[in-house]
């Protein structure tokens, strides 16, 4: 059995938060779907609310305070990301975008992502596809085709009867699990390793374009 790491980013602002509730369901279901594929998975949940001040400080100073840096490293080194945000004014929350803004623009390249979102009513559900998905496309992350939107009513008896929340969670989780299973376990290149920035076995002469006779 192999082991993979899933990072969960929850951008809910209240505590307790229905964003977090959705995030937890997506994570649990993904772990289950991976287990069925004989893959063991661990989950690290990052509540952006806990890092809100650090995220602002990072935007202003250019560096992440230690706790935020740990959170960022958890996300960028994970095998997959589950990203869940409330919908504000037709899009992801400002806190969610600010967190994305302190990540290196290349950090999520090729990473499987399951997008989740929640709002008061189902009328906001398309925000996943017209606002959040383009962000991950820009970052060259690989968001699975199902995004899971939860309206308040989905948590009770007035939810969607045709495609109930649990079914949609299960569908998205299965797609993410498949994307994880298709890939090798994630490795993170050390930016301070000459092989990373020069290329394996190369020296600075290559960057000089042959000036050093290489």
């Amino acid at each position: 059995m192999t082991t993979r790491r899933i990072a969960v980013v929850s951008a809910g602002l209240s505590n307790p938060s229905s964003t977090r509730m959705l995030a937890d369901r997506l994570a649990a279901e993904t772990v289950k779907a991976l287990a069925e594929r004989d893959i063991d998975a661990t989950v690290d949940v990052i509540e952006l609310r806990d890092h809100a001040h650090d995220i602002t400080n990072n935007l202003l100073t250019g560096f992440a305070p230690p706790a935020l840096e740990t959170a960022i490293n958890t996300v960028v080194s994970a095998d997959a990301l589950i990203a869940v945000t409330p919908i504000f004014s037709t899009s992801y929350s400002g806190l969610f975008k600010s967190f994305v803004d302190v990540l290196d623009p290349d950090a999520l390249t090729g990473k499987p992502v399951l997008i989740g979102a929640n709002a008061g009513t189902a009328r906001h559900s398309l925000a996943i596809d017209y606002a959040i998905r383009p962000l991950f496309a820009y970052l060259h992350a690989e968001a699975v085709s199902t995004g899971v939107f939860a309206a308040s009513s989905d948590w009770g008896g007035a939810g969607d009867d045709v495609a109930p929340l649990a079914k949609r969670v299960e569908k998205g989780a299965r797609e993410l699990a498949e994307a994880i299973a298709r890939r090798e376990a994630a490795t993170v290149a050390d930016p301070y390793d000459p092989a990373t920035y020069l290329g394996e076995g190369r020296s600075f002469g290559h960057m000089l374009g042959g000036l050093a006779g290489e």
Binding site: T56, N57, L60, T61, G62, F63, P65, P66, P191, Y192, P194, T196, Y197, L198, S203, F204, G205, M207, L208, G209, L211
Partner: protein, 408 residues
């Protein structure tokens, strides 16, 4: 007090970014003339209190004034006896390397070798388009331009073709470096491993900003530089030449320092309205407190980074008035730097090189023999018809002579 010609284990100094910032306690913003003159007063006072180096940044937009570092540094060199004048940083991306070669060689002559420079890529995006460059080419520009600069100081006659600059055929950068020794170069970096690699490749100095970020960032960069310095055969990792930034504000009682500096910190363009001063001082080398606190913090730097050669402090920004900055210099010169010199000299391995000076580099190249004094040949208007336009070829080994152009 050490002589400029004498060997010196470590150099201490100050660096300015040349910001003109409103004093948040008085609401007064100095004029450009006032701030330029104040910076000259600060720099000359640095020598008076026993510091070794003054370095100035380069900017091409308000609220900064230092668009022409060599002009300023020439004036400063003329008003001082011993101080090394330097930069922090000179923009290797948007300056023509030919102009850098010429201007800094001139500064080297008029300062009798009391200069060096630090190269950087710059942090103001629009400077690239203002000077006709593309910011996305920042790193390739830094690499190609320095390769040309390096050559122009070491070869009397240069043929050159690159990607970014118009080609050169038979070009001689004048004046030739003083005594045939190219100015010493530090490569400054905040986060870029390729710049540490570049410094190591040439065997030049590496300067880590060490101001804005936690020490772990700079530890990895310096470690990489040392490792690659050795890889390229310039010496052991301990023999690599490392400089560090730093940032302090001091008062006899630490609480006075905190109270006095807080309004400047809270409103400073670079970090104001972000983390609290307490958080920022914990996370970065900024130290606000008593001279002893500064000594303790900076004496520990070599535990983080290894023995190093140059320590520069930022002390004159964020709208601090001239009088306050001069007082800070008095404390640095009388209470802090003398102790740090002793502390950082303790158990310093013999293999660790002294801080670079022109005199030491002349000695390493020529011993006690005569140095190169470049004299143009008589009535020579072109460089294309002979090996060298200078009378004094061939060169002694190691001097910055032309290598002679084969087939010329």
């Amino acid at each position: 007090m050490s002589e400029q010609s004498g060997a010196q284990a470590m150099q201490f100094g100050i660096m300015s970014v040349s910001d003109i910032t409103r004093d948040p306690t008085t609401g007064v913003t100095p004029s450009e003339q006032e701030r330029i003159k104040a910076t000259l007063a600060i720099a000359t006072h640095a020598e008076e209190v026993g510091l070794d180096v003054f370095a100035i940044g380069e900017h091409h937009n308000p609220p900064f004034w230092s668009s022409s570092p060599t002009t300023f540094l020439a004036a400063l060199a003329a008003q001082t006896e011993r101080l090394i004048v330097s930069t922090s940083t000179t923009l290797i991306t948007t300056n023509d390397p030919v102009r850098i070669a010429e201007e800094y060689a001139m500064l080297q002559h008029v300062s009798d070798g009391r200069m060096d420079l630090m190269l950087g890529r710059g942090n103001t995006g629009p400077v690239y388009p203002w000077f006709g460059q593309d910011i996305r080419q920042g790193l390739p520009l830094a690499i190609e331009n320095y390769a040309l600069l390096h050559k122009l100081w070491r070869e009397d006659v240069v043929d050159w073709e690159g990607k970014f600059r118009t080609p050169l055929q038979g070009f001689t950068s004048t004046p030739r470096p003083l005594d045939g020794i190219a100015p010493f170069v530090w490569h400054g970096s905040i986060r870029t491993p390729e710049i540490a690699e570049q410094a190591a490749y040439y065997g030049d100095g590496f300067f880590a900003n060490n101001i804005f970020w936690p020490k772990e960032h700079y530890q990895r960069l310096i470690e990489l530089y040392r490792q690659r310095f050795e890889h390229y055969g310039h010496g052991t990792r301990e023999q690599a030449i490392v400089g560090l930034g730093g940032q302090v504000f001091m008062a006899a009682k630490s609480q006075d320092a905190v109270n006095q500096f807080r309004p400047y910190f809270d409103n400073a363009p670079v970090y104001g309205h972000g983390p609290s001063m307490e958080d920022f001082t914990e996370m970065t080398p900024l130290t606000v407190g008593s001279p002893q606190q500064v000594i303790d913090r900076y004496a520990a730097m070599r535990e983080h980074y290894g023995d190093y050669q140059r320590q520069l402090f930022l002390i004159d920004h964020a709208g601090l008035p001239l009088k306050t900055v001069l007082e800070q210099l008095d404390i640095l010169g009388s209470e802090v730097v003398p102790v740090l010199r002793k502390e950082l000299a303790k158990d310093r391995p013999a293999a660790v090189p002294d801080a670079p000076t022109h005199a030491a580099r002349v000695k390493a190249t020529y011993g006690d023999g005569p140095t190169r004094q470049a004299r143009p040949g008589a009535n020579r208007g072109d460089n294309l018809t002979a090996d060298s336009p200078y009378e004094d070829t061939p060169a002694p080994a190691g001097a910055a002579f032309g290598l002679g152009r084969k087939g010329a």
